[in-house]
Structure formats: structure tokens, C-alpha cells
Symmetry: D2
Subunit: 439 residues, 4 copies
């Protein structure tokens, strides 16, 4: 007989707040956040998710919601989900959890998304020193396309992770605390200066722990230890790998009994690096997943890359389906900053320069710079580390598929060229949805 | 009538040294290195090149040549080539030079290449703190494949560049000098520590200037100003973009009259980042090129990204032909170093961790770590910047096409698995060509 | 504001028969079958469909339902749907209707499908002289995969068509009647002999006309004229182009006011040619469509290829998303039949021979011949006309993506090879779902 | 040490006639044509070839040479080449010969090609009833592109085959004789009527047998038995599979000791079906090959598909490198002929109709019909058998990659559209090389 259709283990009601859901969402990593569902190996199950801001961003023409967004509460996760094998024995620390993405998409009735940049005072982005203001663009989905311009979406979750153990959590808190305590000025030597805090340490403020009620002593204790969800870490988490779409498989280390899998931050489409920070086409959505437990898999397949056996990273197998693009335009950056100063092998800076080059190029064809920045952030660009050994310049590139533009492809020279009218029409269409809020 | 076949403008005789060639090679960027050939827009011409060491690496089983290689003389370039339009007027500063790669390949009779890592005391590599010794692997080419293991080559030049103007050269020398003077300890805060000098400044030592004779006053003056060719810069140069194969087009800024195009450092195949430094499959080879001059193109298509109009980068259009791979295994790294220390958004470190993860994974399947390091450096891996905004962790990934392995593809779990005998046979075959010279 | 989600214009209740649906299905082409819904240009709407047999095939281990299937009633279509422009004016004869496939998939709760061959006495298939018995294979879907073996589905509708005008209908009926009247023996000279009738002419038997009640005089008149839906014709119809998935666009000629668009015969996956007749992975499903009316487009873009202006064919634009396969094994057939007789440039026969060669090859690796036949019919094989000018042999090929097999890829020789145990395990898994009913 | 570069086993001097070459070419299949070279398994060797007409077509603006071309002497092959294993034992009947294409290309100094249609009185082509006159187009190569319009070439040999045994040769001659004797009128029922003879039987006229001198008794005997090379048959031969480029492997049955491999008919690029007969971009060229002998492989991997064990077909593995195209426009044909007559499941006719539809479509954008016909014949179009089971209409399609046109890609509607001036410029450029000679 046909298998029952994917069991819905985490439902979302978009009319409710994250903390009002049947299974309240969480926004921290901690081993003691209790699972809200049990699934078995081999079972296909469905998890629904709010967008990463929990519905704080509206489908309208104002970026005021972005400007005033409370980043201390964002990144809502659905789960945790406890995984057992067919015999009912839970995944154990040291196992690998293979998570296959069978299906995914926007939540029915909520087929839209947004891309935004935060204000320099409120989170900023990769290019916040160039683009200090909040902006927002709204996208409507029609199947694999979001319109203005036409983007075939390679939908994926930004966050898939297992719960850390207390030991791993302590390692995270220790190392991030050390960084946070550092004199930020020392960073200016070889790093892009970001206005964001170096690391955001555990805090009870706006801490959501799923089924654990706010204000209880248990909540208080966990909230003071639990890790924020912004950075990707050993447990996977916010890895933002744009190709993790249908048919992909993620091999996550298991740190606690039952694995305690959480997911969130669905993206309709994203460019490598998600450069504008809120940079994918962000949306609510669902995942249909299937898990497999590889007993002892951490030891067999992963190698600790630090002082303890916990310093590992997941492995990913990307799916076989992706948009075909025949023509790419590639922009390059090297590790020399905007003031002309030479840095040593800094791939972050080189990528920043490559993205800035691409923005300026698109600007010549009728996009505003803010539009181009949002576009590179959410369309399926490839961000590559091209050269990482030729001191002192790291070379990074960003490759843009030309097919996403409604534009003339001319052959001689084959640089992207359009009659201004055509391009501006497209830009105007885009403009309807983009509002820059000046400080 | 059929056009004459590509005119050979820079011939190479592999039995001669770089400085004994009909048009002696150069190893510096300088506007006063005289052109050795003139080509016209639209003409298809052929440039031959020695491998980047000028024939210093031999097809044998010893890495002694790598260990003792004199890096102060390497990176030999063919050219410069002066480009004029059909009316005979040269490219001028401010123009863009579009260079199309019509054909390329190894030099007939010299169908082999090598991949190597340098000794920590002599150049090192991206992972020199993990792999401090010189190693060498030899590859023989059979059409698009190099053997052990089977790698479909996406052949490309590592270096294509125009000559800098004196003004641009001064900018380079100034900024690299400032970096070289910096206390290297300050870098340890947020950077991988490399043993290599921060930047290699102009020096007369081993300076080759093509048609300008050694030791003349002219040579002396230029050698003291001319830039080393290791880093990619505003003129293109050593960009190591692995997709620049047949059908690609490179849009180079023109800084001097005639453009003075130079090329070198042919690669049979390379992984993104060319991580082992001498990390592509290095070879001698030829390029068949066609140029186009876009008058005033620098201003029209490029945007200065620094204090002067010269702070630009080339644009690349990659060709339509590349290997099809259906399955990729993706390894991730975050910006936490081997000691467990947290760094801030350091993509260079994150990529290093991703590559180390991939090496350790391959080690489990019968490759030595040195083999895996060389393999990732030269096979068509994709190095991606996946997340660059989620403080404090940059997330970088390296994706490996599974098809390059002679190995069992099993489906459950679909991690790369092989019966040890099969994999080791392949490794043994590889071993024949790899010799580690211990310090 | 976000657009309303796709309006459901044709709902399906899988517990009801095709003629009991809210909008009863039809199984004929005729201009007077009344539209059941109106849509406007630019609107995204959703059409649901039963599988092509209207639920007659069950998810069980017996092929008896296939053996006894009443082919005179099958090929149920949803619709017709009348299309108007934004001003409310209907599509008119001579316009082109551009239909974009925004989304599609199985009906929720019904995620399974089947592939089958009919008995020689009941429809048969492309290879019915080799495979005379009814067989059935059941597939369960998990996201983009159907299992045993792993097939990334490129879901598409087998049938999309507009209603013919009376004039076009007459042309069809005339020409098919002439063929049906022909002495079938004359075909044996240069054609594969099929047991199926040459053409199935209009008949009132089992005729379903949507909203027109059975047995009324109107029904009687239309049923005697209306065309069967098996063959593709000028109106599109049963074209079985396997790449018509998300993002595709179909340009259909408009023959009657309102276009009267009908769809049906959803496929989870299909190989070129759909060789076993019931040869895709057949399923129920939905389409989310968007239409555009190109006024006068028939004259502008299509060219009549016969005696009247109605002899045209649709144009298709296939979508940008498809599975990536790196390795293909290609089997060839020439127009020499099984008895060794030479035929003249017969691509149909050549393709038959190519498919037989592929079946025999897979048989060597542990599949039964019936399994291989079903597999080639439903997995994403490419059927190519390779040579069509070298008398007397047409050359046709079928290319199979190796990645669909759970099997050893060995390199020397690289023919598909597997340890029998592995392959048979996969075959055994497949066997669970395949039952051959002997005559 | 590096292996010696490919050994040149069959050199070509383009200034000489086919029969004046060092190893005179042959134009027949026969077991007694003596090998001209010996190669060993694993050795990479180079074979050079004249174009298929042996230099009879000139690079000029007249199609007179095409009109008067003597088709009785064409299809010159290089070889045969005898293959032995590493121990010196020859390939034996019953073995499989795996031939890997390591490299291939035009002969240096001869980088041009042509596409043509023959006069109806002299060979004709697939559409000879629509295009009865001789035409010719010249192409010049620049790397992977041929110009006007821009076509990335997927170079391949049209012919690769082993020598037949006497027994197989007899089978061929018998079956083709039977076809030739048939009343051609009987074909008109279900077949496109071609003006070409049904099959061309052995004849001494213009027979070339390599090293066997003309007019000797041996030559006389062989010439009366030897098979013409036009059709592909059990030994491979003229299979015209357009993807057999670098990295491909062909598994040929061995019928005589030493295999006696012959090759010819190099194509710079071809569309599926090679519809205009002389329809690829024809050129002289070279192949660099490597062979492997699979002992007993015929029995192990091939299955006889007829009365004897010799009725087999080769297997092909296509290479991993091909042009990426993102957008395809697909034209459909059904088995209804130009007079409106219905045929039964005739894929040959359906493909003819699809090609005619595509030609008429391109005609609307400024190409002449003759240009379009030649273009579809030589550019990388895909000819697919889409439906082969839905009686009475076979459905065939031809898919054209849009990127080969220098043309506007507009999005709404996305049919191929260009301002006439742009398209006509491209057509004019093409026209320079196309000359139709009226009868």
C-alpha cells in the first residue's frame, strides 16, 4: 500500500506569533530544549516554519519594519525533533544523522518573500559601510520563478542543525566570549570593519525555548547558557548553502540522545554568501524530510579538527536538480580595500570587492545600487574562492547567470548591454517593491 | 578563402631556458618591458608558454626539484604583445581589451604536468602548517583526462594580464611595501599564519625583462620598480580562475599604449583556490587568442573601487563548455581555527577548515593526506563562500565531484565508500608519482 | 499585497469517479464540450487531474487491473478552461495561447504512481511482439525521487491541448478514417507490426463530454464527431514531451473562442518515447498554470504545414531546471528488424531496436527483461534520432543516465558492472512491485 | 618518464588525393582490406582523416562542386588499424574493442568546414522534396566556435567501425539487395518518399581498397563483395552520434582478427539526424585514440538481435564535456504528411515535420529557408522521439538551443524575437557563404 503522506510533525499557523504556535518555536541552541516530536528512521515527515523573523516583516512598500526589526529575537526554529531507529532506539552521541530533503516549498497561501538590508545601527550587512540604510524588496512566487526579475528559485533551508551537548555548548560560549572581549580595533589591520558586535553571547533577553515556559527557573538557567543561532557551527545550523534543495542529504553529527533536529530560515533563492544579511528571498515554508542514523558515524566519517572530538563539521550532498545557466559574467575582487590599503590573503575582503564590482557594473545598466546589492544577495550567484595562495592577494569572484536579466544579449562585445528603456522597465518594476528608508 | 591558421607570435623551444628563447620570457610587470609581437584586433594568434617554473621541474620520482626550486625567478610570462585595432591604432589607456580564448592546450610532445607543495621554508602553501614538506605528483595527459585518478581537464591559463602604467605600478609598490613593513604578529589575531613573506617587493634578483638585457642601466632601473607576478592585481595577472577555458572572454583594462598583454602559468586542471600553491596540474602550453579593443571601455564598464581611477578589476565571461558532474560531496569550514579559537568572519580560515575536512575524509578511503591535499588542489573542486554575514562565523565550502574517483557509489548511506582494495589500488597508482621529501 | 494563491478552477475528489466530479471529466476533443471555468491572462490557476485511467489502477501487487483495463474510456481530461484577456475578451481563433507551467506535482495524499505494459490483446505497447503480457510496477514518491531504483522525477503533464474547431476535427476524422480503412498488411513492408488498431475513430462508446449529460441528443451528436485523445495532433494534446516541467511554456494554437484548454495524463517521470505505452510513472496530480494570449500569433509564429491554415503544431519552451547527469550509456538501433530484414530509413524501427538492445544489456545485470522495459519507459532516458539520411539505415539511440542505478561504476572497462548481489538486491526491491500476469 | 606523444599511425597530406596518401584511403567495408598500422591496447595513437569527400569541396562561394559531387566515391576512411593486446595477441572475433577518444580536432592549417545539401538528382537529403537544389555553406573555425552564427562545436567522428567478417558482409549484402529489389512504390504508404536509391549495393565503380591496387584480381573480387559505407550497421560505421567527442568510449564488436578499425567523416558540429545529408560541419581532422580489448565481450555485453550471433550493435559512452545551454525552443512534428495524409506511427515522418516547422519558424526571423535547413543540420540541436506509442501519431521533436543566435531574448512573450535589423545582419553574414545553385 502507498505510504501515508508525510506526517506533519510541526504545524505552523501563520496567524499566530512564534510563541503561540502549537509547538512554540525556539531561538537558541541548547541540549535541554525538549523535543516536540518523535520521528523514526526512514519515515518521511513534514516540518513547517515561519520565516526567520517570525512574521515581523510585512508585504508592503515600507522598509520601516526592517529598520526597527528586533534582531535579538529573530531566527525562529521549528523543532527539536527526536530521531529514533526502526527499533525505537534513539540516535546517540557519536552517530551521524543523515537528513534527506524530499520536498520543500513555501507554505500554501503564503507564496511571497522578501530580501532586505539592515540599518548600520541594527545589524548591517556585508557591505554596510557602503549601504548603511535599511531597504526591503518584496517578491511574489509563481512556481519556480519569483518575479522582477525572473529568478528560478533553488529553494533551501538556511538552518538545519542538531542540538549541541553541554560540553560543545561550553566550547562555543568560551570561544565566542574571548572574541567578544577582544579590542575591536585590532581587527582593523586585516579585516573589513563591521559595525555588528563580534559575537552575540547568551542572554535571557527574548530567549525562546519552545515548550519551556518563560520565566521559570529552568528557562532562566538554560537561557543563560543557550547559544544564539546566527552563526553556523559544529552542529550545522545557519550554513546557508544555497544548493541544499530537493534530493540533498545532510550528514549531521549527533551530540545528544535523539539528535534533536531543528530547522528554520527558509529561502526561496539565495546567492553564495547571502551578502545583504537578510539576503536570501526569505519566506515561511515547509520541509519534508527523511532521516537515517549512521551508528558511530562521527568517528567513521568525520575527523575532529580541533582540541576535542566535538570539533567537527557536517557533510552535505547536494541534490541533482538545479537551474541550467549557459552564460555567466564573473567579477573579481582582490584583498586591497577601498582606501587602497593592501591586506594579506583576506578572502572576506576580496569577496567584498568582487561584490562591489558587480554592483557597480549592474548600476551602469539601470539598476540602483541598492537594487543590485539585494539582487546579488538573493539570485543564484556563485561566490568562489579563486586564488588563496598568491600572497598578498586573495582572489575571490562572484559569477552572475546572465539569464536572470530581461535584457539584450549582444555578441560583440558580449558585455551585458541593454537599451536603457528595456532595462529601466525592469528596474522600475523592481522599484515598486524597494523602499530605502533614510536614517 | 579560409583564414590563415593562428599566427604563432611567441614560439617556445622546450630545449632552451626561458631567457634563451627567441623572445626571452619576463617575470615582472612593468610598462617598459618592450612588446615582442604586434597583433591586430580580430586576428587569431598563438602564444606558447613554458610551465611556470620554466622547465625546472622534471618528470621523475623525486621531489628534490620542488624542495630546492628557486621561487625568486619563477612565473615566467610570454609576451608582452602589443594590440592595435584594424586601422593600426594601438589600444590606449582607458580602453578595455577583450581577449577571447579560442583554443588552448599542452605543447605538442610535452603532454604531462605536475602538482606540488612547497617546503615550509620555501614558499609553503595554504596548509603549510599541516603539510610542511615538499611533495610532487606527476600527471600524464590523454586528451581531456589526466590519469590516476581520472580527471576531465578544464584547461586554462593561470595568468593573463596587461602591463601596468608607472602610476599603477607605484600604487602597487607603495601598498605592498606598507604591508611588508607591518609587524607580522599583528596578523595572528584573525589570520592563518603563513610562513611566506607578506609581500615580495621589487628586487633586481633574478629579474627577467624579456628583450632588455640583464645588467644594463635600463634593466637596473626597471628591475627596481617592476612588480612580482605572484598576486593577481588590477591588471588581471595571476587570477587562477579555473573556468577560463575555450570560449571564455576576458575584459582587461588597458593602462599603457598597446595594452602589452602577457600570459603564462598554464594549468591542465585546477580546483578553486589552487590550495597547494603549486596546486594546479602545471604544464607548458599554448593559447590561441583573439582580441578586441573597446574604446573608452574602462570608464564605460568598470568602476574604480579606490582612491584613483586605476583601482579597477577585469571582468570575465566563462566559456560554455565544462565537465558535467551529477554528484557532489560538500565539506564545510567555519572560522574557528585548529586550536579552537574563534575568529571573526574570516573566509580564508573557513576555507582552510573546509579543505582540511575534505582531506581527512579522503584519508579514510585510502588516500594519504598528502595525496588528498594535492588532489583537491588540482581536480575541479568548487570552493564557495556560502555564508559571509552571520557573525562571528564565515562559512566556506569545498564541493568535490564524486565522478573523479574510481570508486563504489553506494546508496545507503551514500557517503563515498569503497572496498579498501579498490581504493588503495587507485592510491597506489597515484603513489608511484608522489614522493615526500622529509626535512 | 501578495497575490491570492493559485485559484483552484478544477478540483478533484479522488474518492469519486471521473464522471462524478464537481466538473465531470471528458475524454474527447470537440469544440462543443462546454468550458467548466474561466481564467484571465496573467492569473495563476490550479487544475487538478485524475491519473489517465481515472483511478482504475490500484496500488497492489496484481496486474489484473491492467490486463482488463477498458481502454475505450481512458485518458480523462480536466477542463476545458476558457481563457480571456485582462479586458475580458476571449482568446480567438488565430491567436496563440502561451501556457506557463508555474508548479505541478502529485495530488496531496496520493503520492504514488505506476508503470505498466498492456496485454497484446488490449492495447499492447512499442515492444508488444516481445512483451505480450500485462505487467505493472508501483512507485512511491519521496520528493523528487521515486524509489527502486532512485529516479529524480521531471514531472510533467502528458496532455495539454486546446479544443479543435469543427473544421479541424473534420480533417482529423477524415485522415484517420482513411488510415483505418487501409489494409493493415500493406504496413508490414516497412513498419513494425502493432496489434493495435491503426486509428481509433469517433464512437459514442464510453464517451464523456464533461458537463453534457450522457444520452442527450446533444451528447449523441458530439460523441459521433469527437476525437479520441490518444494521439498528439495540431492542438497539442498527448505530446508526452518529458521536459515540460516547472518553468516551461507551451504555445498552443487557438481554434475556438476562449481556447478551451484541457489537461491530463500527469507523469512523475518518463523516458523519451514512453515506450511501454502506459509507460511513464502515471499519477494523479495538479498543474498551476498561467496563460497569455498572443493575438494573431498563429499567423505570426506558426506556419501551416499542409493543405489548410489549420495544419500547424505547437511550440514548446522547456524549463531551466532538470536533473544533472554526468554519465550516459548509449544504445543504438538501426532499421533492420528482428528477422534480419532490411527496412528503409525507418526511425521507428531503429528506435525499437535501440530499446531492445538496452533491455538486453540491463538483463545481464540482474533485471528481468520486463523490469528493464518498464524502467526505460519511465526513467529519464533520452531517445535520439542520430542519423536520418544514410540510406537504408536510420540510426536511433537511447541514452540512459547511469546515476539511476545503485551500482558499481568501474573504470576499466567502464561498462556498467555490478557485483550480482548488489544489483539483484535492487532488482529484488523492484520485483516486489512488478507482477506479470500470464495470458 | 612522460609517454611519447600520440604515435601518428595514419598521416594525411592534404595536397594529395585520397588514393595518393602514404596509406591510401578506402571507401568500403571488407575483412580483406589489409591493415595499414598496428597498435597495442593502452597506446594513444593518432589517425588523420580527409573530409568525407576527400577534398572535393572547395572553400569558395559556389555550390557547383556540391552539385556535381561524385557520391559513388565518397566516404573515405583512414585505416584499417589492427589492434593487439599488450602481449601482442590480436583482438579476436567475439571480443569487444573499447575505443576511447582522447583528443580530436581539425587538421592544423585546415581549420574550416562546410555544410551542404545535395541536388535531388544527386543524393538529395532528408527534406529533398522541399529543398531540391544543391547549396553550400562555408564555416571558419576559431577554437570551439564556428562563425556566423556562433556555434560551440562538439567535434566528433561520423564514422568509427571495425571490419565485418565475410559472414556478416554476406548478411548485409543479402538484406540490402532484397530491399533494393523491392518496388519503391510500396514504400509510399507509410514513408517519406526519398529520391535516393533504397540501398547502394556493392560495385567495383570507384572502389578504393587502401593498400590493394586497383584492377588486380584481388581488388576485383573484394570490390564485388565490399559494403558501401553510407549506412551505420552492426560494425558501428556511420552512426553520426553527435556527442562522441573528447572522453567518449565506443565498444565495438570484433568480427575479424585484429579488429581492423577504420575511421572517417569528421564533423566539427552536427545536429541530431544530420538532416541535410552533408549536414554536419564537415571537415578534415585527426583523432587521438586509445583501445582496450575486452576478451569475449561480445557475448558478455551484447545480445544478438536477429537470426545470428552477428546481429549486434555497438555501445557508446558519451564524454563528460558538452556545451551548457539554458534555453531551448522545441518544435514538434506528428506523422501526418504535407498533403494532410495520416501515417501510422512513423517517427521518420514526424521528425521531418518537426524539422520543417523549425525551418519555417526561423524563416520568420530573417533566415532564408535554405539557411535554416543547413543550420539545423549542423548546430547542436537535439532530435527526440517524444511519443512512439500513441497511435496513429508518432511525435518527434527538435530542440534548438537559443544561445546560438545573436538575438534579442525578450521575456513576454519569450518566443525568439529580434529586431529585423539585428537578425538580418546575422543572416547577411551567413549569406556570404551560402550559394544556391538552381537546377
Amino acid at each position: 500500500m502507498a505510504p501515508p503522506r508525510p506526517r506533519l510533525v510541526v504545524p505552523i499557523d501563520l496567524k499566530k506569533k512564534p510563541w503561540e504556535q502549537k509547538y512554540p518555536l525556539h531561538n537558541r541552541w541548547h541540549p535541554h530544549i525538549p523535543p516536540v516530536a518523535n520521528v523514526r528512521e526512514g519515515e518521511v515527515f513534514r516540518v513547517e516554519m515561519m520565516d526567520w523573523t517570525g512574521g515581523s516583516v510585512a508585504d508592503n512598500n515600507s522598509a520601516m519594519d526592517i529598520k526597527s526589526l528586533d534582531l535579538t529575537i529573530t531566527h525562529y526554529l521549528s523543532g527539536p525533533i527526536r530521531v529514533s531507529d526502526k527499533g525505537g532506539n534513539p540516535a546517540n552521541p557519536g552517530d551521524l544523522l543523515a537528513v534527506e530533503i524530499c520536498n520543500l516549498g513555501p507554505l500554501p497561501g503564503d507564496e511571497w518573500g522578501y530580501t532586505a538590508t539592515f540599518d548600520r545601527e541594527n545589524g548591517g550587512g556585508f557591505l554596510t559601510d557602503h549601504f548603511p540604510s535599511a531597504t526591503k524588496a518584496i517578491w511574489y512566487f509563481e512556481g519556480i520563478y519569483a518575479y522582477s526579475p525572473q529568478i528560478p528559485g533553488l529553494t533551501h533551508p538556511g538552518i538545519v542543525g542538531t542540538a549541541p551537548s553541554l560540553e560543545l555548548l561550553n566550547i562555543w560560549n568560551e570561544r565566542e566570549k574571548k572574541l567578544a572581549e577582544k579590542d575591536p580595533n585590532s581587527l582593523q589591520i586585516c579585516e573589513v570593519v563591521h559595525q555588528r558586535p563580534l559575537a552575540i553571547l547568551p542572554t535571557t533577553r527574548n530567549c525562546l525555548l519552545g515548550m519551556i515556559n518563560d520565566g521559570t527557573p529552568e528557562w532562566e538557567k538554560i537561557a543563560n547558557e543557550a547559544a544564539r543561532t546566527i552563526p553556523g557551527r559544529e552542529n550545522g545550523g545557519n550554513c546557508d548553502i544555497k544548493n541544499l534543495s530537493r534530493g540533498s542529504k545532510i550528514y549531521l553529527p549527533v551530540f545528544v540522545e535523539g539528535a534533536n533536529l531543528s530547522t528554520g530560515d527558509m529561502h526561496f533563492s539565495q546567492g553564495d554568501g547571502e551578502v545583504s544579511f537578510c539576503g536570501a528571498i526569505e519566506m515561511s515554508g515547509f520541509l519534508e524530510l527523511k532521516c537515517e542514523i549512521i551508528r558511530g558515524g562521527m568517528k567513521e566519517y568525520l575527523t575532529p579538527m580541533g582540541p576535542t572530538a566535538l570539533h567537527v563539521n557536517p557533510i552535505f550532498e547536494i541534490g541533482p536538480v538545479e537551474p541550467r545557466f549557459s552564460e555567466w559574467l564573473v567579477f573579481e575582487g582582490i584583498s586591497v580595500d577601498e582606501s587602497g590599503r593592501q591586506h594579506f590573503m583576506d578572502a572576506t575582503l576580496a569577496y567584498k570587492r568582487a561584490v562591489l564590482n558587480a554592483i557597480d557594473y549592474l548600476y551602469k545598466f539601470g539598476y540602483s545600487k541598492e537594487q543590485a546589492y539585494l539582487l546579488l544577495s538573493c539570485c543564484p550567484c556563485e561566490g568562489r574562492i579563486s586564488g588563496i595562495v598568491d600572497a598578498p592577494n586573495a582572489v575571490a569572484t562572484i559569477a552572475i547567470p546572465i539569464a536572470i536579466f530581461d535584457q539584450v544579449r549582444s555578441s560583440s562585445p558580449s558585455l551585458l548591454k541593454g537599451s536603457p528603456s528595456q532595462v529601466r522597465a525592469s528596474a522600475a518594476q523592481f522599484d515598486r517593491f524597494l523602499t530605502a528608508v533614510k536614517k
